[in-house]
Symmetry: C2
Subunit: 427 residues, 2 copies
Amino acid sequence: MEMEDQIYAMRGNICFSRDKNHLEVVDKGYVVCDKGKSAGVFSQLPNCYLNIPCRDYSEALIIPGLIDLHVHAPQFAFRGLGMDLELLEWLNINAFPEEARFEDLEYAKKSYAIFTEALKKSATTRASVFATLHVEATQILMDLIEASGITALVGKVNMDRNSPDYLCEKSSVQSAADTRRWIKNTSEKYKNVKHILTPRFIPSCTDELMRELSLIQKEFNLPLQSHLSENLKEIAFVKELCPDIKFYGKAYENAGLFGGECRTIMAHCVYSTDEEIDLMKEKGVFVAHCPGSNINLASGIAPIRTYLDRDLFVGLGSDIAGGFSESIFRAMSDAIQVSKLYWRYIDPAVKPLTVDEAFYLGTKGGGAFFGKVGSFEAGYEFDAVVLDDRNLPHPQELNTKQRLERLIYISDGSNIISKYVSGNKVF
Amino acid sequence: MEMEDQIYAMRGNICFSRDKNHLEVVDKGYVVCDKGKSAGVFSQLPNCYLNIPCRDYSEALIIPGLIDLHVHAPQFAFRGLGMDLELLEWLNINAFPEEARFEDLEYAKKSYAIFTEALKKSATTRASVFATLHVEATQILMDLIEASGITALVGKVNMDRNSPDYLCEKSSVQSAADTRRWIKNTSEKYKNVKHILTPRFIPSCTDELMRELSLIQKEFNLPLQSHLSENLKEIAFVKELCPDIKFYGKAYENAGLFGGECRTIMAHCVYSTDEEIDLMKEKGVFVAHCPGSNINLASGIAPIRTYLDRDLFVGLGSDIAGGFSESIFRAMSDAIQVSKLYWRYIDPAVKPLTVDEAFYLGTKGGGAFFGKVGSFEAGYEFDAVVLDDRNLPHPQELNTKQRLERLIYISDGSNIISKYVSGNKVF
């Protein structure tokens, strides 16, 4: 990572979302970075900036960094493997045995280095990341992400029930103690990496553990990430474990861990009921939409149009390794695709997502969890990705919006030529 | 393209399908090419082959070339663009205006060169390709594909009704005359490129045109490709145009253009009725399953498990540009994904496709249309692709089958390091 000048401009074909319905395109425009934040996008450089350094990316596209609201770092090793299972079996057969390996710090270092390198090369600038229950391995992950230049929230996982002996915390007390130890070990240690509380999901967490986490949440004022209403069998299991709650999300809310003062990301929300949606809305809970994972584990299709219409906070997640791609471009394209099947097979009254909406979800939509992130409007963090599409030739003229659309669907790593986080160049 | 020795061996980790349920893996094995055909796969080289040249691909995977049973070459230019439409609107707004440009031979040359270069670099060794209605442009496409070393069936499109004035043949007589001219111009011209009759689909072809094509089919003994039961509005339109037929496929059969002596590929078959399926079975019609396209145009999900259970011939198609990717690996992964949503939302009695089945569909399943193609069993055409996955590191051990599975889901062009067609090296 290279530290940048305090103030500089970048020139190229600039695309960013103002809101979910408005993708802004400024051809051969300028975006100015002032002390790590955008000072705005201009078609001509204002006089006051005429003397600042300018990086000319010529015909390339410049877009805000992409946001991954849900990714399991230890599962990156088995992405694209063993997906012929539904969630609960998949956890037992694939995820838990792999996560158990992270007790071995050499293995953790090797695996997390591979994950972090892929994250670094991707178009993602910020991510909310699950580690495993292991304190030391989680610290290794945080060290690596900090060194990569990416900004991330990272969570040591909590799980003290319904988990195999080899990957289960002995008690809520131990889980809480480990969590405090992890927070203290890493407090003030990083510039770009912060803590996020990470109870795996209700089936893995006793009521006592949720109470402990609530105390920790208040003490350290931490955000929280977990899973919600992903799979029908999971939901039935939660109903069995918590017979008194009206809906799954209530189990988090009863512990004070569902939005409000506790800023919260809930991954999936494929089968959220009206009451659950109402509560997410009321509490400002973020939905991490993970369309690829929801197909691969045959979970279903989340009603994202409904969430957008109700003005819920929604972003995208790769959900490695329920999802097999770390690319948030792929998550955008998957989100559009599944919304078409939702329209075809579930509810013809619910219109498919547009490209503009999918781009918004993967930038400003998810970015809002990190503050003013995911756009180039003045005051936003200067997270930027530069895309070169010259290896995707075309015989006809294409405008910038069309080039972006095409990159969402067909780009791969070779198209990402530069990336900036808060004004610092990652590569 | 480089001409190969008459007989040689290749060494690597070899994967191929014997049938839809059996993926064979031979680690550090040998596949022998004798005069363009496989002489079999061996874990140790038999004595009789000890002195032949051997190319050692070391840790790489060697698989049969992939087969694209349905691709529109002129549409490659707009892949990943303008997919917020259903089939009939999408044709009018995207496909027809672009195809009309191929009257301009300079444009055709430029566009088809881009398509052919992408096809060459891909893992596809054989394809069945739609061109446009233009005779000269279609010849340019055939010239380019022949030069690339890929084997293909290429069709000049026939369409004489319900098409815009700028892309509609004036009469069935003119369409037939152009088709004969195209066949004669290019007869005996190519080694690897052959003709395939290509009535666009029933809505675009008058009964008179179908009769003309039937005569041409018999005269030249040509195979045929078209579209079938892709989209509900399309099917309703066919019903309106042909009120006397019991089902869509019957309109082809009435003209003698639905399997039997006329070897036929029908793309899509999303909504084929039991009777249509029975007729496809009876006539040996090949289904080109195009899962990506069927999502993008919100057509639906084809019941491929049903077709496999009934022992129909089924292969995969990229359906560029209803599909946005020319990769048949992507088609395999899409086929698995949509089969999971079929299970979830349409019929829980129909099990999702396995990785083995998807690999079979993209190799031997589609390959059967070209003869003994798509496997390494002795006597099969020696079409091979060499895959290097070293840029996809992993911390744990993976066996060859797992590496193949992962490549199906997450590989891109960078993993394809060599390709052979009928024993000739393409790159």
